[in-house]
Symmetry: C2
Subunit: 264 residues, 2 copies
């Protein structure tokens, strides 16, 4: 049976040490971490922190941004950090156009994965390409659908290159329920967030806790579980109002939201 994981981005301003303590106190066994707060606390200290609390790290966010000047070194470091934390997957936000035509930008992602795959295999960390909602295509990820992500994975073994599937990004896709079974073991990370409207300006931080919006979770969850997915399921919600609340409250409501859509 799959278990809940708390992605720390859901409580953006809760310090890492408090996230870990709060999760342990609430009986949560898994956390999704982000590189910036881990770097701020220190990588080695973070590793010790989560180990001492008995937590596993379900994923590390984020690598990608293949058009950025230092993409290769930065992604190699991100893989190293994921390995140190014991995270099985490095979530990849693959980057937007960076002033290139769309086809070129997508080809750049493919070659970037090729450059990183050997290091990922060496470390035992999967590069987990996250198809992102098409409204982010210009500025955050030119990988917009599960079909597009699967095409990028195809040349590589599933241990090297897989998928992060986030309900927020794919719920609208006519093909997603047909493609999840084909993705099968490629799904390295599964995240939940809900689609709420109206969208805020810049559209990044207007997501909802599961159940608060328009996503029909049951078919997506059933499809992913039917592939044999048995890793933790993260809730990862970017929401400016939620972030203003105390971390303990966010965690409590996130657990309740998870339970409202995942029935053991």
């Amino acid at each position: 049976m799959t278990e809940f994981s708390f992605n720390q981005a859901t409580a953006k301003y809760w310090p890492l040490v408090d996230v870990v303590k709060g999760c342990a106190a609430a009986g949560v066994r898994h956390v999704g971490l982000w590189r910036e707060p881990v770097a701020e606390y220190g990588l080695e200290r973070s590793v010790a922190l989560v180990q001492d609390a008995g937590l596993s790290v379900s994923s590390l966010c984020r690598g990608g941004f293949f058009g950025a000047p230092d993409w290769l070194d930065d992604n190699r470091r991100a893989l190293d950090e994921a390995a140190a934390l014991g995270a099985p997957a490095l979530v990849l936000v693959c980057g937007g156009l960076f002033d290139r035509p769309l086809a070129d930008a997508r080809a750049r992602v493919a070659s970037g994965l090729g450059a990183l795959a050997p290091h990922a295999l060496d470390l035992g960390v999967t590069l987990a390409v996250e198809p992102m909602h098409p409204m982010f295509c210009a500025d955050r990820s030119v990988v917009s659908t599960l079909a597009g992500a699967l095409a990028l994975c195809e040349p590589f073994p599933p241990e090297a290159v897989g998928i992060t599937l986030d309900t927020y990004h794919v719920w609208w896709d006519e093909r997603v329920l047909e493609l999840i079974p084909l993705a099968g073991p490629r799904i390295a990370s599964f995240q939940l967030a809900d689609w709420v409207i109206p969208l805020p300006a810049d559209v990044l931080v207007g997501r909802g806790l599961p159940g608060a919006g328009h996503v029909d979770f049951a078919p997506l969850v059933d499809a992913v579980l039917a592939t044999g997915y048995d890793r933790p399921i993260e809730v990862e919600v970017f929401n400016a109002e939620l972030w203003e609340r105390p971390g303990e409250e966010i965690l409590r409501d996130t657990i309740a939201a998870y339970r409202s859509v995942i029935h053991d």
Copy 2:
């Protein structure tokens, strides 16, 4: 050779009578009209206005919203209005979820098209399903891709049910260039707008004139023209700042934007 059409939504606050005069004065031969300003001016008067000015109406916006209570009567009226105006296509914004799961909402669109297709055939007006950007899936259109729109068209002859293809909505789609040739004569209306970021709150009115943003127009335009599309190409831009300007200036800049991406 295809010609420019000015969709009046690009100058939302320019009165219909001034749109028509302005287009005629600028040598523009085609306009895309909307039902609300036509109703405000009066349908018969609008018909006379565009005929007297020697303009053709390239499309009428909009039908659709199949979850709305009066959808059947309202769409029949919209078809009648399109026929009166001589518009070959009624643009369909197919409606969001209306509190139904996504699969149900999409099935509702299919049955709605079936209910309207005979009347469309009788009148010689094509129901032109517009795939809209997935960020509108919950509230404006559950038809999110050209593939989804083509699947809806499939049971009907192209004269009855076709496609409105708007670059703003489909530019990000990995499959769109492969599907445009298959859409072929289904493309009843082709509209241009550009993707500009950051998106404004509610994301409806942040589009750009062609060339102002991130859309790679040439492959899309070439693909549509290669199908034999020979109707006017509309520019339709929802932009709150643009709307504040005088209509003549908007028209002038829209023509220039069109010429920047469509090369005769």
